[in-house]
């Protein structure tokens, strides 16, 4: 009986194996019979920066291709300035554009694929992104045209060693523009060519916005310059800058020009221990950590109880509306600007992710400088005004003479008001003309 049972069990086992192997073979046969999925190559235009260098981006592409064998990424690395020209030409001509790219210029927005249907179809969780950046960076005419890659902001880095040597207390997040001036003067040591603060590159940065709602280039409806450019708040901001320039606490204009790196501010002066406070960004902050600098981070100084502003950014990555592969481009975009891609760039480069949950996994999330940076991101973004007023850049370019006059000491403090009043009609004319060329 026992023998029979064993025989039966053996036969059953053999049958199971036979059926199983037949089933498996059938499946294999079916898989072979199905048409192989065509490999799609996507064109991805990018640049390298403090936050993501070329090597880390190429490594990220390999990582993506491992899990997406049917999508190949042709990463085209362009110089930042060449990128704008190439994108504008391609999008304007309507041919030869990238499948996926940074949509970093407002005039390109109408050429980006609207993503709302894809987001809804895939139930893609947009709630994972910081709301402030989602709202200011991804929307155009009420539609979603891209996803926000990383976050960054201006911040004031201060050199603790220089502060300690001068016996000056460190600044705090609640500091004011008046305190900024006082600190800059105290910590400066012109005899040793050590400066307290840098010369700001232009007006209407975050500090201007901190002076009040009328410290703007023109009215919220983009119609009137009078009462904004020359408002008491704007005047106060200009006078503050005048005091800074006459304080003796800043490097010379020529020093700033030759020793600052274009577009990246006075990082070299700061790293060389010649500048006690410098308005830099989170990329510089991470480089300072790597270099072992003893530094702290605070937000830009405020004015009274006015809302605090920050010049913050996130890079909009979108899909060109002319792409031949919208599905594959969306697959790549979701991965690249989603948790996987941003975590990869955070771990392997200098990216601070725009996804809160990923940011919490940052290796130094408990460090003071990271906490300070993340706190700064909660301030009101200058980008809200900038995004709503694309003519601002043109108008601002028309008023730089006053900035030069203050920097070069060609004007007295009492003359600033008259200069601002005189600039109003000129700026108004530029605003009126600039609005005509807006495409939306």
């Amino acid at each position: 009986m026992k023998k029979d049972t064993m025989k039966l069990a053996l036969v059953l086992a053999l049958m199971v194996c036979l059926v199983g192997s037949l089933f498996a073979a059938g499946q294999k046969e079916g898989a072979v019979a199905a048409a192989p999925k065509e490999v799609v190559t996507l064109e991805w235009w990018t640049w390298d920066s403090e936050e993501y260098d070329e090597a880390s981006q190429r490594a990220m592409v390999k990582e993506f291709e491992k899990t997406h064998p049917y999508i190949k990424i042709n990463m085209v690395l362009l110089p930042t300035k060449g990128f704008e020209t190439k994108m504008t030409t391609a999008l304007g001509a309507g041919v030869g554009g990238p499948d996926v790219a940074f949509f970093s210029v407002a005039s390109w927005y109408p050429k980006a694929l609207v993503l709302d249907d894809l987001i809804a179809r895939d139930k893609f969780d947009i709630g994972m992104y910081y709301k402030g950046f989602w709202d200011t960076k991804t929307q155009f005419n009420g539609k979603t045209i891209g996803l926000p890659l990383g976050v960054g902001s201006s911040l004031v880095m201060f050199n603790k060693d220089l502060f300690d040597a001068a016996g000056v207390a460190y600044p705090t997040n609640s500091w004011t523009t008046t305190e900024y001036l006082e600190i800059a003067k105290k910590v400066a040591n012109p005899a040793k060519k050590i400066w307290g603060a840098e010369i700001l590159t232009r007006p209407f940065r975050a500090i201007w916005y901190n002076y009040g709602p009328n410290a703007r280039l023109y009215s919220p409806d983009s119609k009137t310059v009078e009462g904004y450019l020359n408002s008491p708040e704007s005047l106060a901001a200009y006078e503050w800058f005048y005091d800074l320039m006459r304080s003796g606490a800043t490097p010379t204009v020529s020093d700033m020009s030759t020793l600052s790196t274009e577009n990246t501010g006075p990082i070299d002066l700061f790293m060389a221990n010649r500048l006690a406070m410098a308005t830099l960004n989170q990329g510089h902050m991470l480089n300072a950590v790597k270099a072992g600098k003893n530094f702290g981070v605070v937000r830009e100084p405020g004015v009274g109880d006015n809302p605090r502003h920050v010049n913050a950014w996130s890079l909009l990555v979108g899909i060109w509306e002319g792409t031949q592969h919208p599905e594959e481009a969306w697959t790549f975009l979701k991965w690249y600007v989603g948790p996987e891609g941003q975590k990869f760039l955070m771990d392997n480069a200098n990216l601070f992710p725009s996804i809160d949950a990923v940011g919490k996994q940052y290796k130094d999330a408990d460090k003071d400088y990271v906490k300070a940076f993340l706190e700064i991101l909660n301030d009101t973004q200058v980008a809200i005004w900038r995004g709503a007023h694309p003519s601002g850049t043109k108008v601002e370019a028309s008023i730089t003479d006053l900035w030069d006059k203050i920097k070069l000491g060609l004007i007295t403090k009492a003359q600033i008001k008259a200069e601002l009043d005189a600039l109003v009609p000129k700026a108004q004319s530029v605003l009126d003309e600039a609005k005509k060329t807006l495409i939306y």
Partner: protein
């Protein structure tokens, strides 16, 4: 009046065809890369076009805006005109003087010629960066040397009064290139003329002004036009060093064009701007050409006709 119809022989037709085929690579290149873009630029100058959308015909509005509503236009014209006026004499006079030196028969002359020509093959951006440091007011070599002489140097690029002369003085760097052209002109002057003059008892200055300069005028004429066009196209120095400042002292025309065309993407307006520059250059060239009959001498012909 009856017109005679001349029938071409097959050989003549074949010859003409061969001619057209021979020049066709150039002709096709010219039509595609030059002629059509010129026509397009003329058309776009009458439109509002930001590249992203189709151009909108606005007639003369860009030109009206240029002349009546854009203060930056006049600042750019002023800075560029001053630059041309300052740099052109510098590059012509020093170019001729350098070529005279390079024409001397001394040992190692080929080395000196190469040495002075090197700057002409270095990128404009590198040269601009070099000059930034040379003329840095606090630590630059020029002001340091001046300080040894007890002279407080100016702030050069960072002073509205000195910025334009500073940029113009950078033209000195380029004289090696033009000196080589003058040198070729000098070497084409028949030596028997100098010999005859010396036998007649002419001094060095007299020989220079009565023989060298008159026989160099065809080269000077050519160089004047080329260098003038180059001067009108000044861009790199302002773009790299001064950004057009301070107080728009170096806000050159091409910088203005670049900002409008490639930063603000006002392509229609930028097209009008560049056409205006082309017209100005053509007028200036025509004026120089017109005056040439009074001062340019061609060997065996006297003054040019």
């Amino acid at each position: 009046m009856v017109q005679k119809h001349v029938k071409r022989s097959p050989a003549a037709i074949k010859e003409a065809l061969c001619g057209y085929i021979s020049i066709s690579p150039w002709l096709v290149g010219f039509i595609i890369l030059t002629f059509i873009p010129i026509l397009s630029t003329i058309y776009y100058s009458f439109t509002r076009w930001t590249i992203m959308d189709a151009p909108v015909w606005i007639g003369l509005e860009n030109y009206i805006r240029m002349f009546t509503k854009e203060p930056l236009f006049y600042q750019a014209v002023r800075a560029t005109s001053l630059y041309v006026a300052m740099s052109l004499p510098v590059i012509i006079v020093f170019g001729v003087l350098l070529s005279l030196l390079l024409n001397m028969k001394i040992k190692g002359m080929n080395f000196y010629r190469t040495l002075f020509y090197i700057p002409a093959v270095i990128s404009g951006v590198s040269i601009a960066m070099l000059w930034t440091w040379l003329l840095q007011p606090d630590v630059g070599i020029v002001n340091t040397l001046l300080s040894y002489l007890g002279i407080q140097g100016p702030k050069w690029f960072w002073d509205p009064k000195w910025a334009l002369p500073s940029v113009a003085s950078m033209s000195l760097w380029k004289v090696g290139g033009s000196a080589v052209i003058y040198l070729a002109g000098l070497q084409n002057i028949p030596p028997q003329l100098y010999e005859a003059a010396r036998i007649d008892g002419a001094g060095k200055l007299r020989i220079f002004f009565r023989i060298t300069i008159p026989l160099l005028t065809p080269t000077l004429f050519f160089q004047l036009i080329i260098q003038m066009i180059e001067a009108f196209k000044v861009f790199t120095e302002a773009y790299v060093i001064t950004k057009g400042g301070p107080l728009k002292a170096t806000y050159f025309y091409l910088l203005y064009f670049y900002e409008e065309g490639f930063q603000h993407f006002n392509t229609g307006y930028a097209s009008a701007l560049i056409l205006f520059l082309v017209v100005i250059i053509m007028l200036m060239t025509a004026a120089v050409n017109y005056t040439s009959k009074h001062w340019v001498y061609y060997e065996g012909e006297g003054k040019s006709k």
